[in-house]
Amino acid sequence: MTATAHRLAIRALLEGPVTSEAIGAFLGGREFPLVEGASVTFVWRGEADAVRLRHFIYGLPASQAFARVPGTDLWHLTLELPERSRVEYKLEVEQHGEARWIQDPLNPQHARDPFGSNSVVHAHGYEVPEWTRFDPESRAGTIEDHALDSKALARRARVGVYLPARFRPTRRYPLLIVHDGGDYVQYSGLKTVLDNLIHRVEVSDLIVCLTYPGDRLVEYADHEQHARFLTEELVPWLSAKWPLQDRPAARCLMGASFGAVASLAAASRYPGFYGRLLLQSGSFAFSDIGPNARGPAFANIVEFVNAFRDRPAKVSERVFVSCGTYESLIYENRSLVPLLQSTGMDVRYVEARDGHNWENWRDRSRAGLTWLFPGPIGMIYE
């Protein structure tokens, strides 16, 4: 169905007398935002001076005004969203000269992140992947909490260690180190994803180390001490406690945003040590000329990425890169891919119509993990 093939419900409402009963009938029995083909209609009801959509789609004006249905308290806005889009947003409601950002009260879909939560609209064709949901058939792994003293970071470093279901100390496992590991578990459902993908044999049995940063804007921005912590302290500490395979192809660094930078930067400081990288929406800012426009937090990153662009090196074997097309970082990530490929690294790149958020990273995790650590899916029939 396309938007033009059928009259939109909001148009039908506006063409008749917009009585209180008509508004009630329009709102009743429908889910909002109302997705009709490519058209998505947002609605807010209440007294206000103005209502605006505040979304996180890079490329569209960040603020889109709702129209008020004359003589009523109904506000509406219709946007065209490409198929399979997933968009996080808030409503900005202005009352008595004061603007508040709120979640859409008519929309039960929310996504959480470390800063709170947003409303979410699923455009036509988007579905929450089935493998991200709890599956009672999947055998559950466990997460143990640990800490180690890091000389490199001059602090006690908290880590979580995920052991797959049916973990056996006599077997050796690949290692995945996840930057912002706690957030990945909390906001991207990483444990459920691992349980499901390992149970379904799409991903091989793994030991996963969840790291927690100190000041992530410092530690993740090409920080020598962070790379040293990972490589000279954390991996040996993990190897002493758990049975890990001692080969680059069985060691992966994963991260999103600054965490992706930290992964590539650490691999660059220890070339060949990490044979697998999983980089999601990396903040790979660079400048072709002059200073970067992203602010001082990016200064180290720009220096690192500029240097990498000047002298790209084969720092790993296999690299998975993903980015949302609605992110401001899409340009940087698209630019990085041919650069990585030019070094001879095996690179897989995936885009999706989503933004810089944890559920985007959740939805792309299957593509990354199954490619970096494929399980014997065709062979196992239990």
């Binding site: 299957r366 199954t370 062979m379 029939y381």
Partner: protein, 317 residues
């Protein structure tokens, strides 16, 4: 078909039916269990053996194979080379298979002259069947060449373990074969010629174990993270049953909403019954009684739908 009694079962994790099948076949005495498909978890058989009331002894084929490889490095190296060859053969076969099945898919969807298309579709599917047969034949040749060159059953390290297995089998009345990694399982069963040692003892098998007992092992998964997801012939099985191809966990692994695709799979293996055994299902064969399929035994038809096997079982027996 051998005269031994057989039972093929649905997945056992949530609805174990092995004990019921043992009773249905009138088996008394202890069972030998084969859990080599579980690989390094082979010995975690407490639950399975408890289900059998403790009347079980594990043949430990996975562990025994490791002992053989440690004691006979020459055989281990030859085995490793052969497995590498199999891997490469499988990759090349899948390359050709994907291209041939892509032609089938295109022709199935193409409008045009009905009679002409029907002939071309049949020819395209015949080419796929010929490739499947050629691949299986080449695999069999490699097995034969390996056996002729290395005489594995005669080598002392393997013979030692085989004697142990024979001794254990002397004390049991039937063999139960669990699923797991089907390539590892068929490899170990074949390596020790377990069925040769088991004589006419009944065999009960499920999931990958059932696949290994059939004449052909067909790997399948319609939703792999990467790749075409086309079903592929892996190897010959033990051939306890000639006309069945087992598709365990079909509801999870097959896209049953796409009847064109599932129907194409059934047409490809025309002449065999594609058997789907649901949780709790029991399919038995006994000399003089023939086949008995309960309601959980289904067959995938050329229309892409699952139907009760008792309708199609005549073709099997």
């Amino acid at each position: 078909m051998s005269s031994r009694a057989l039972a093929f079962l649905g997945p056992q994790r949530f609805q174990p039916t092995l004990a019921r099948a043992v009773a249905a076949l009138g088996i008394e005495g202890d069972l030998a269990t084969v859990t080599a498909g579980w690989q390094e978890r082979e010995l975690e058989v407490e639950e399975l053996h408890e289900h059998l009331g403790g009347r079980a002894v594990n043949l430990e084929l996975h562990r025994r194979a490791e002992l053989v490889f440690q004691a006979d490095p020459e055989l281990a190296a030859a085995h490793h080379r052969r497995q590498e060859l199999f891997r490469e053969m499988q990759e090349i076969y899948v390359l050709r298979l994907d291209a041939m099945l892509a032609a089938c898919v295109t022709l199935d969807a193409r409008p045009g002259h009905a009679q002409l298309l029907e002939q071309e579709r049949a020819a395209a599917m015949d080419a796929v069947r010929a490739l499947d047969l050629a691949h299986a034949a080449r695999i069999a040749e490699v097995h034969d060449e390996f056996d002729a060159r290395w005489h594995p059953l005669d080598r002392p390290a393997l013979a030692l373990q085989r004697n142990e297995i024979a001794r254990l089998l002397d004390g049991v009345t039937a063999v139960a074969i669990a699923g797991g990694h089907v390539a590892a399982l068929i490899n170990r069963l074949r390596m020790f010629d377990v069925l040769g040692l088991a004589g006419e003892r009944p065999v009960l098998a499920w999931s990958g174990g059932a696949m290994a007992c059939a004449a052909r092992i067909v790997l399948f998964h319609d939703h792999p993270p990467f790749g075409s997801g086309n079903a592929q012939v892996l190897d010959h099985g033990l051939g306890l049953e000639e006309s069945l191809v087992f598709l365990p966990h079909a509801r999870r692994r097959l896209d049953l909403s796409d009847s064109t695709r599932t129907g194409r799979l059934a047409r490809r293996f025309r002449g065999s019954t594609l058997a789907v055994l649901e949780d709790g299902a029991i399919l038995t064969w006994q000399r003089g009684l023939g086949w008995n399929a309960d309601d959980g035994c289904l067959a995938l038809g050329e229309d892409g739908a699952l139907t009760p096997m008792r309708i199609t079982i005549g073709a099997v027996s």
